[in-house]
Every structure is written in C-alpha cells, then in structure tokens.
C-alpha cells in the first residue's frame, strides 16, 4: 500500500513537470535566444543586449507598436462602454426575443476569425470605408464587445437587484443611481472585461490582417511578416519585452483581485 502511494506521488510529480515543461519550454527558448550573440537560433555563442537596441531603432516596429496601442486603447474603451450598457440592459429588462439577442452575442466569439475578418472586409469595402486605423478600431471593437458583456454580466448576477431600487428610493435619479451605485458594484467585471479586450486586441492577427490598410500595420502583423523570412533574434527580443509587459499586467490584476477577496 505504502509503496503504491509513493509511486503515485512520484508519478503525479512527473506528470505535472511534463505539463509545465511543455507549456513553458518554448517561451524560455525565446527569452534565452533573445540574448544570443549569434544570428542563428540554434547555437548559443554569447550574451548580448544588441537585439534590444536594434528594435528601438527599427522605426517600422515602433510605428506598428504605436498603432497597436492606439487601436487597443480606443477599441477597448468603445467596447467597454457599449458592452457594459448592453450587459446592464440585458440583465435588467425582459423583452421579446431576449434569448435570441443573447445567442447573437455569443456568435462573434465562436465563429472562425478568418470568416469574421472576411465579413468585416466585405462590409468595409461595400461601405467604402478606407482601410486604416479607423477600420481596425471598428473591427476590434466589434469582437471585443462580447467579452465585456460576458464579464460584466457574470458580475451582475452576483449583485442584489434591489440596490438600484434602494438608491432611487433614497432620492437618486436614474443616471445618478447608475454612476453612484451600479457602476462601482460591477467595476471588477468592467475592469476584467477591459483587460481581456485589450489583450485580445493587442495580439489579434487574422482579423487585423483583413481590416488594416498599408499605413496602419499592427505589431502582430509586423512580427508575422518578419518571421516569414526566418526567425531573427530581434523578434525574440521583441517577444520577450511583450512577455514581460503581459506578466506584469497579469500580476498586477491578480494581486488586486486577491486583495479584494481577502477584504471580504
């Protein structure tokens, strides 16, 4: 019995280790080779920051980064406003066809991105909208809205529906009630919806590929085109920077959440 248990323990540790190696080995490789002196990704010939310096001088990359950040921020903002209002409305009112509207909200999440991209492109060209930052923002807002709706609605479910009535009962008008009582209560949902939107927007390739113009390349598309001609070390360096930023954001939001949980 005892030996069996021991074997089981060892097996589970090995199992877990394999999973983690599988998940993180590629990332470690990217980070390691971003400091590699050699231009070729196979042998490690020495430590250098050269590639990091090289990215900073690469104006195309910097422009692409700028575009990515602008699109991410603006479309997140729009998606948060539209998505939050949609979630609140869907939560509060009963109306005919509510289930249909509910299902329709899911569809952008499940349909293949490539189809969504083509559809948006078709729409933009029919509407004679010039492809560029504007069309990118519209496209990103569209696919970010469902994620905001989901996170906000998940939050709304846990909220006492009477708090709005209580606020109105105590003299707050409807708009005041929204900003004083409802919005602060659903804020965690709004924030996670925003973080999710921003992440999805920042690393989107397929939809951006279809809806962007020649002057408004985003970072993921730029990286994609750089990789076409072989993985160069500066791509590794860039990936490492993005990785660090992502990890910092995740840690910040997680610790915020943990603090909120502890408070309760």
């Amino acid at each position: 019995m005892k030996i069996n248990k021991k074997i089981g323990n060892v097996a589970s540790i090995i199992h877990a280790s394999i999973i983690f190696i599988f998940l993180y080995l590629p990332i470690i490789v990217v980070v390691a080779f971003s400091f590699n002196k050699s231009k070729i990704n196979i042998v490690f010939t020495g430590f250098t920051f050269e590639w990091y310096g090289k990215i900073l001088k690469n104006t195309r990359l910097i422009d692409a980064l700028e575009n990515t950040v602008i699109v991410a921020i603006v479309s997140t903002l729009l998606a948060v406003i539209i998505g939050t209002l949609a979630a609140v409305g869907m939560n509060k009112y009963r109306f005919k066809g509510k289930k249909v509207v509910d299902a329709l909200l899911y569809i952008p999440v499940v349909i293949p991105e490539i189809i969504f991209g083509i559809a948006l492109l078709a729409l933009f060209s029919t509407a004679k909208l010039k492809l560029g930052l504007g069309s990118l923002i519209v496209a990103h807002t569209t696919f970010c809205i469902p994620f905001v709706v989901f996170t906000v609605r998940a939050r709304l479910v846990g909220i006492d529906p009477h708090i709005e009535e209580a606020a109105m009962d105590l003299g707050a008008k409807r708009i005041r009630t929204f900003f004083e009582v409802l919005l602060p209560s659903i804020m965690p949902g709004v924030v996670s919806g925003a973080l999710l939107s921003m992440t999805i927007s920042m690393d989107d390739v397929i939809i951006s590929f279809f809806t962007t113009g020649p002057q408004s390349t985003t970072l993921p598309i730029q990286i994609y085109s750089m990789v076409k001609s072989g993985i160069s070390p500066d791509v590794n360096a860039l990936s490492t920077i993005i990785l660090i930023v992502t990890i910092v954001v995740v840690i910040l939001s997680q610790s915020r959440m943990l603090r909120n949980i502890k408070k309760k």
Binding site: D160, A166, M168, D169, R176, V181, P184
Partner: protein
C-alpha cells in the same frame, strides 16, 4: 384617524397573471399596518406600488391625499427597507446611511450630525468605517433601517425585513422595530408571511390571498373572529370543520358535521347552509363525562411536546383529527382514553364556504372514508 396612504381600486397584472385585484386600503397616520399572506398573494407587489417601483395597471395611490401615480420613487416621501437589505456593497456604513441626504445635497455637517444620530438610534456607534460585508445579518438590518429613516419619510415600507434573521434575533428585532415606530410616530407598512410576527407588531393586519384582502382588522379581531377558512388556517392554529347548518337556536346554531352535531355562534346563517367552523385548539374543553349542552366523544391519539405549550391530538367518530393546546403544567387527557369534547358556542366561529374551499371538503370526505 387621519389617512396617510390610500389605495383605491388598484389592479396589477404581470402578463396574464392578475396579482393584485381591485385593492382598496387606507392606512392611517402613525399606524403600523401589516400586509400578511403566503408568497404570491400580492403583498410585496402592493408595497412596491406604494414605493413606486411598480406602476398599478389601474387605480390610484395617494400619500397624504396627494396622488403619487406619476411620481418616480425618488419623488415620493416614502422609504423602503428591503428583505435583502440592499446595502451598497462598495460604500461604508457611514456613506450607506448618509446616501439619502447626499442625494438631497445636504451640507456635510448636517449629514454628519444626522448619520451620527441614526447610528445612535440603531445602536451601531463606531461602525461608520465598516463595510457592509463585515456586518452580521442583524447589524445589516439596522443599517438598512437607519438608511431608510434618515430621510424622515412619512411612511416606511418594510418588505419582510426580518426574514433572513434567526428566530431569536427576529423576536428581538420585532420588539425594537415596534418601539421605534411608536417613538417616531411614522406610518409603517410591513409585509410578512409570518403570522406570529404580524400579530406581535401590528395595529392592524390585512390578510391577503390571491391579490385580495381577505380580512382587515386588529390582531385580536383577526385571531378571534376569522371571516374565512383561509384566515382561520393561516393565522395561528385552528381546527376547521366543514358542516351544514341544521337548526337555529337564538344566539347559536346547530351544525351537522359528518356523524356529529356541534354548537357554534350564529352570525346570521340559515338552515341548510354549508359552512366552516373554526375552533382554536386552546378553546376546546374536555372532560370524562358528557357535558350538558353538547359534547363530542373522542379518542386521544397522541401528545406532542412543544416546550411552553403541549398539544394533544384526538379523533372524533367521523375520523377527523382535532388539536387541543394547553400550556405545559396544565392537564391533558391520557393517550388512548375516551373523552368528551365541548366548547363555548362563541368560540366556534362560523364562516361561509367559498368556491375555492371545495377541495377541503373533499379532504373531509376522504378522512371519513379511511377510518
């Protein structure tokens, strides 16, 4: 009595569901009125229409003789205490209680003074900086009451405010609420499904069922003189027997119920009429020999121990079981003994049968067959 809230011919439908039917009710100034009934009887809907959260489909509501039909909740001089407390989870206790004054744009010093006064009234001094989720149920309840009262409403609406508390705390809060209401002289409209709570606290009780007020009266009127089988069953415990009037004696009447003949008080009924009789368990007398006026033979089935009160279940020849209650210490007949039951005719209240009581008659017959 001067009226504070008047409800005139109010109807409310949810789709095809008629939840409040032609409701008429006047609540006096400074009165403690309870809307009592099972869930789905329309009591909460009625309260919500007074608060302004729901609009009547027809009819009018007046507060201090002013029609409030087109007024938003924030324009009405009534405030509500919710069953779920509905405290603002992201605001501390001070800001929760001061919310109403902040909306009225009162000065900071005025808010501070009145919040402090409210905290003192509900005995929560020193809790200003706490968050709602750090409070116990009873404390949350007090905050909810303080928050509603700080606006100095003309009417306080309470929707099952003690429903989520444990029994002991509930009893204590019942007394506290009643004291508070007397001290402030504010009209309270209180919704509950707990008949004991209603009897304890109210000046008057409106017993509701299926969107209609079945009976409106003081707690003792409701308890002693129920007008329908529903009220007799719902308020306290009762033995409700179905019978047919056979003979009218001056003040009393004789009824035939199954195999037995019983006496009850006459409220203007006619021979041949189908009626229900309600006798409270504590009003039934028993003895070892037959009693002069009338008596029913019965076999004692079992005793039920209930602490301050004991219950005895007996069976009469038709097979129907009756309950007898006595305070502990008082004598109860021994199990399996044969006894004679009787009661003062005025303790047997006669009520008219209604169409929806038919099922209960069937139940009577069924009981008769099984024995």
């Amino acid at each position: 009595m001067e009226s504070m809230v008047e409800i005139r011919k109010v109807n409310k439908y949810y789709d095809d569901n008629h939840v409040v039917k032609d409701l008429d009710l006047t609540v006096g100034k400074g009165e403690f009125l309870t809307l009592l009934g099972p869930s789905g009887c329309g009591k909460t809907t009625t309260l919500r229409m007074i608060a302004g959260f729901e609009n009547p489909c027809s009819g009018n509501i007046f507060v201090e003789s002013a029609n409030v039909d087109n007024k938003e909740p924030y324009e009405r001089s009534v405030n509500t205490v919710f069953q779920s407390y509905a405290l603002f989870p992201h605001k501390n206790i001070y800001d929760n209680i001061g919310f109403g004054l902040k909306m009225k744009k009162e000065s900071k010093s005025e808010i501070k003074e009145r919040v402090t006064e409210m905290l003192k009234m509900v005995q929560l001094e020193g809790f200003e900086k706490r968050m709602p989720n750090q409070l116990s149920g009873g404390q949350k309840q007090r905050v909810a009451i303080a928050r509603a009262l700080i606006n100095r409403p003309k009417v306080l609406l309470l929707d099952e405010p003690l429903g989520a508390l444990d029994l002991k705390l509930r009893k204590q809060m019942q007394i506290e609420l009643k004291r508070l209401q007397r001290k402030l002289g504010i009209t309270f409209i209180y919704v509950t499904h707990d008949q004991e709570e209603a009897l304890t606290m109210s000046d008057r009780i409106a017993v509701m069922e299926h969107g209609v007020i079945e009976q409106l009266g003081t707690p003792s009127e409701i308890y002693e003189k129920p007008v329908s089988k529903f009220v007799a069953d719902f308020i306290g415990e009762s033995n409700v027997i179905h019978g047919t009037v056979t003979e009218i004696l001056s003040d009393n009447l004789k009824l035939k119920t199954g195999k037995e003949e019983i006496l009850a008080i006459n409220n203007g009924h006619k021979p041949g009429e189908n009626v229900f009789v309600s006798i409270r368990p504590e009003k039934i007398r028993f003895s070892n020999k037959p009693v002069d006026s009338f008596s029913l033979t019965a076999i004692v089935k079992e005793h039920v121990y209930m602490g301050s009160m004991n219950k005895c279940i007996v069976m009469i020849p038709s097979g129907r079981e009756l309950k007898i209650n006595r305070f502990s210490g008082e004598e109860l007949p021994a199990v399996d003994s044969k006894i004679y039951l009787s009661w003062a005719p005025e303790d047997a209240v006669v009520m008219v049968t209604k169409p929806n009581d038919v099922n209960d008659q069937a139940e009577d017959i069924h009981l008769g067959v099984t024995t």
